[in-house]
Assembly symmetry: C2
Homo-oligomer: 515 residues x 2
Amino acid sequence: MFESAEIGHQIKKAEFDRQTPLLRQALLTAQYKLLEQNKAAVIILVNGVDGAGKGETVNLFNQWMDPRHIHTHAFGAASDGERDRPDMWRFWQALPPKGRIGILFGSWYTDPIIQRVMSRQRGQDRDKRRSADSDQTRHNERDAHCTAVFEKQLARIRDLERMLVAEGAAIVKLWFHLSKDAQAERLRTLSAKKSTAWRVTKDDWRQYKHYDEFIEVCELALRETSTGEAPWHIIEGSNHAYRSLAAGNLLLNALDRTLKGTTASLTPAEPLPERSLDKLSISNTADYSRSLGRASYERQLTKLQGELSLLTRHKRFKERSLVLVFEGMDAAGKGSTIRRITGAIDARLFRVVPIAAPTDEERAQPYLWRFWRQIPARGHAVIFDRSWYGRVLVERVEKLCKPTDWMRAYHEINEFEDTLTDSGSIVLKFWLAITRKEQLKRFKLREKTPHKNFKITSDDWRNREKWSAYELALSDMIDRTSSEIAPWNVIASDDKLWSRIEVLKRMCAAIEKTL
Amino acid sequence: MFESAEIGHQIKKAEFDRQTPLLRQALLTAQYKLLEQNKAAVIILVNGVDGAGKGETVNLFNQWMDPRHIHTHAFGAASDGERDRPDMWRFWQALPPKGRIGILFGSWYTDPIIQRVMSRQRGQDRDKRRSADSDQTRHNERDAHCTAVFEKQLARIRDLERMLVAEGAAIVKLWFHLSKDAQAERLRTLSAKKSTAWRVTKDDWRQYKHYDEFIEVCELALRETSTGEAPWHIIEGSNHAYRSLAAGNLLLNALDRTLKGTTASLTPAEPLPERSLDKLSISNTADYSRSLGRASYERQLTKLQGELSLLTRHKRFKERSLVLVFEGMDAAGKGSTIRRITGAIDARLFRVVPIAAPTDEERAQPYLWRFWRQIPARGHAVIFDRSWYGRVLVERVEKLCKPTDWMRAYHEINEFEDTLTDSGSIVLKFWLAITRKEQLKRFKLREKTPHKNFKITSDDWRNREKWSAYELALSDMIDRTSSEIAPWNVIASDDKLWSRIEVLKRMCAAIEKTL
């Protein structure tokens, strides 16, 4: 995979000087057009071997183009706020908005690769110490596990990148390479000169020793993530002129394709049927017969709130986080249920996020961005009053996005929740189901009650007309996103009291099980 | 000051149960009206003595009102990302947008008060160890210094709060108090019961020992920051019913006043004159005679960029940060100057922030918020292409805000820059001055050159018509905001080459001086 980047590519200075002004001008023009179109972001990932010119190229891009519209982020060790959230969180925070170029220096590839290299080294160190057959078996098992973790991370990255492309971004993945010999020579040359010796640390030499293992892991990573929509480009890094022109031309290409709107697009799937074959649906097959008297409700509420309060103060909860999702037709009781939950949790630990129309900063990003920015740190809870499921509910029904967009959303959402769960979040999803009849009753009550008046708008009546379209979307949603790690809880909610208690019961049980 | 909060206020449970539903209903209604008006934020600061019911009250507010529209932030120890920025930064990030209620639990008062108490304790410990007269003098000097620091912090808080109120926010400052006896009793009661003993830590008892000093410092803080526009309210904390009703009623009051638009408003000052007495101005008295040949420019540019590059890689720079501000008439050369600077700094260390129209998230906050969110961490640089000075330039000239708003902005801006400087930022401000004639020349050139075409719009021609109004605003701006800590550098920029070199020279000199 790296063969063609070890053959000593180079370009003469005169040729470089001739080509550079043209390239710069073209890049700058393309950058301004991108800004003017304001339709797509271009994300440049900069990775590769140490000393292969990554930093220099990032600086060059900032010199060649207008740095005012480039968002450069360098990722080193995670800060404490970042460590308390899923690994991907900090990259989401750094995504460039539409119209801009974002450079991620040290991207979502860096940590998985380094972890994998380190786990292999630990394995080898153990091998040196022991040699019995049983140890060998154990070693193999351990290594297989680490490989599986690594491959899962790579699969997740593929999904992320596919989603970004589908959301209109172009991803330019640059890998700067140096052969083992070239790297050794570079370290020696730097060390020899007084003025550059400080740039070579002990770490550099240590890393150099593990060059082969590192490259082997990288090779796998690149192979598994070089997809049609976001291929890797390997650039030989030893010659400044060659490297710079190669990187610049790749970027120019990507910009041009983005401007023409000919970026990789995904095959549109056959959209799901627009009507149900029979009249059965999740909401009309729920069991609405259950109800609860006021006295029993009060008693159980107090007990369950106490339980929930203890659970969120449990010392093991400090290592987890809680993501609650509430969905349901209008007037299903989402708000009032949420208040029974927040009433039991210390206000310092939770945040309720009501989802309405996105702000313009949110609109300039992939649709999941607005949820990623709200992801709780360890020890905290976030309660979403409506959520990312809007993509496959209201956006589908109201045709606010294309069928290909909501079709791909099911998988993207599953991936998102899987990422959350993997990082220690407890993800609980509730669909508060009510009957059409009960909704009508509540709408009328809201119209009559002065302090509930603000809760009912003409939108609500309009949505009600689309009941069956919503029911269909709901069915598809539950079929496709009720996973083992984050199952949907469909709660019959015509009886508010029973519904609230049921939600609290399931919450407490799920949290207790995890802790 | 705390006398009336040590007299054993209490309310009977029956009375509490009678009043609570009415209060809750009123609070909820007010909260929804606030949301609907979407004009002002309500900021609740929760401070006071440990164990006086702060946390309980925060929880109660979240139970009484709709938690979906309350932003609760608890401030403990700062995270590493927060420590790398001015102290106020994390509070700015937590300000509620218009229409919302924000609860800051442990507010901008906490750290200054605790620091002051600790510095006094350190002083007393030293006193115990030594007793010579000379030591006494030294002690007094040290204490006077700490007092001065504390008072400066309080003054800064007053300014911050005044500004927030002027921007339309209401600030409700709640101080929960317990007398020394009441606190001792509380700690004893909690310790006695098995189920609550865990809530009392060694720290609590240690803090209790220093109760008197703590109260003395708090007394000063409250006295100095209880202003007409943002007064403190002291609430006796020992009785749950009394405390809750008192806090709830204070909040309701503030909400009602906010809804009626009768929050504290500042005396409008006499606006500054709309025309100059003579024809002299900053831009036409700059010395435009200086110019530079291309060869000399190239030579100096290389030298200065090298210098700047070294300075930003200096180990002491890791403890500072750099805030650069570029202002100037259209076509003054801000963009091209900035590119000569960024060309010398590692792209991982700087961010260029071009200031255009605010996003809707920014519009829902005080005008300085969009700049606070961009403040660099230690070791980093942010370059503003236009800045907070828009408030006293374009917003003044185009009448986008009221005279009282831009009139108060001078002081607010000085405070802002003082805060930055105090936290270790180097703040450098450049006004690139060009003559009206030179601007015309550049406009025409832009119109003719295809790849510069996008840079010239009808807005530019319109602004040009208001040249003299801008000149007047500029004069006032420089008179009022060119301070010793952050002076304005007015650079005659009709000759672009000379101007760029001059900017780089001054930058390098200023940074070198600070490091």
